[in-house]
Symmetry: C2
Subunit: 161 residues, 2 copies
Amino acid sequence: METVTHFAQEGTLVSDRHTDVPTNAAIAPQPAPPATPLAEVAPDDSNSCQTVNEVLARIGDKWSMQVVMSLGRGPLRFNELRRRIEGISQRMLTRTLRGLERDGLVSRKVTPSVPPRVDYALSTMGMSLRDPVMALGGWAIEHRHAIAMARSAFDDAQEEG
Amino acid sequence: METVTHFAQEGTLVSDRHTDVPTNAAIAPQPAPPATPLAEVAPDDSNSCQTVNEVLARIGDKWSMQVVMSLGRGPLRFNELRRRIEGISQRMLTRTLRGLERDGLVSRKVTPSVPPRVDYALSTMGMSLRDPVMALGGWAIEHRHAIAMARSAFDDAQEEG
DNA sequence: CTGAATCCGTCAAGATACTG
DNA sequence: CAGTATCTTGACGGATTCAG
C-alpha cells in the first residue's frame, strides 16, 4: 500500500504537461466502468479492508479531502482553492491536485492565456466520493463530543496513574 | 489538526496502566451522548470539513481501520490481532490500539493471569463507525478499477510527455 | 497566475532487543 | 503473551526561489 501513498516522488514529473489543454480526456467520460458487482467481495473480509485502506490512504492525507469538498460546489481556480483552504502551501496544493488528478477524481482544464488560467473540477467519480465522505462526516459530527470526552478521560487516567 | 494526528508523542505513556483491569469503565456505557442534532452544522461547509478531516486523520492512518474492521466480528487478543493484520509490527499495533482506546473506539480488558491476557473489542461507538467506513469501502470497491485505470493512463501520459 | 525545483527540519514507521 | 525502550530511516510538509 505504501507504494501508492505518496505521489510521483517529488521530481519525476518532468515534462511539458502544463501547457496541453485536453488532459482530462482520459478521465472525463468513463465509457465502460468495470463495475464490480459489489457482492463479489464480501464487505467485511480482509480483502475489503485492503481496498478501504487504499482509499483511506489516498484521501486521508492532510489536504485531499478539503480539496474535494471545496470543489464540491463547483470548479475553482488554483488560487481560489488556495485561499479557500487556508493553511495549505502552494506546493502541497499542487501535489494534492496532482494526486487527485492522477486517480481521476479531479479534472484539470488549462486555458493558455496570459495570465494562464487553470480550472479544477471534480470528475464524476470525484463527485460520487462526496456521499460516503459526508456519511463519515456525519459520524464525525455526531461523535465528536463523545470522542473529546473519551480522550480527556483517557488522558486524565494517564496522568494520575 | 496536526495536534491530534499523532498520539501521545512516543514516550509520555509512562505509568502502570498495563495492570489495571477496569480501564474501559469510562467508555463502555455513554449515558447521555451530547447528540449534536446534525442540522446544527451544514454538512458541506468548511466547519464540517474540519471535523471530517479530524476523523480522517484519526482513522486514515495505515492501521487503525484494519484494526477496527478486524475487531468488527468480535473481541480479539493482542497476537490474534497481530496475526490477522499481517504486516503490522507489534509497536504499531500497540500504538494504534492506544489511539483507538484513547478515542473511545476500542475497549481493553486485561486479565491478570500468567500468561497475561488482554482482550480488545470495539466499543459501541467503535461499532457505529463501521457503517460509514463500509460505505467508503463500498465506494472504494466500486471504483478501484476506474482509479487504477486513471492512474496508469496518467502515468503513461507523463512518460511519453 | 500557476506552477516547478530545491533545500531542509521534523516526525512517524519500522526493526530490534529487552521486560514482566 | 503483551507489551516497552531505543535507534535509524525516510517520507512528509513548509519556505523559498525560479520559470512560463
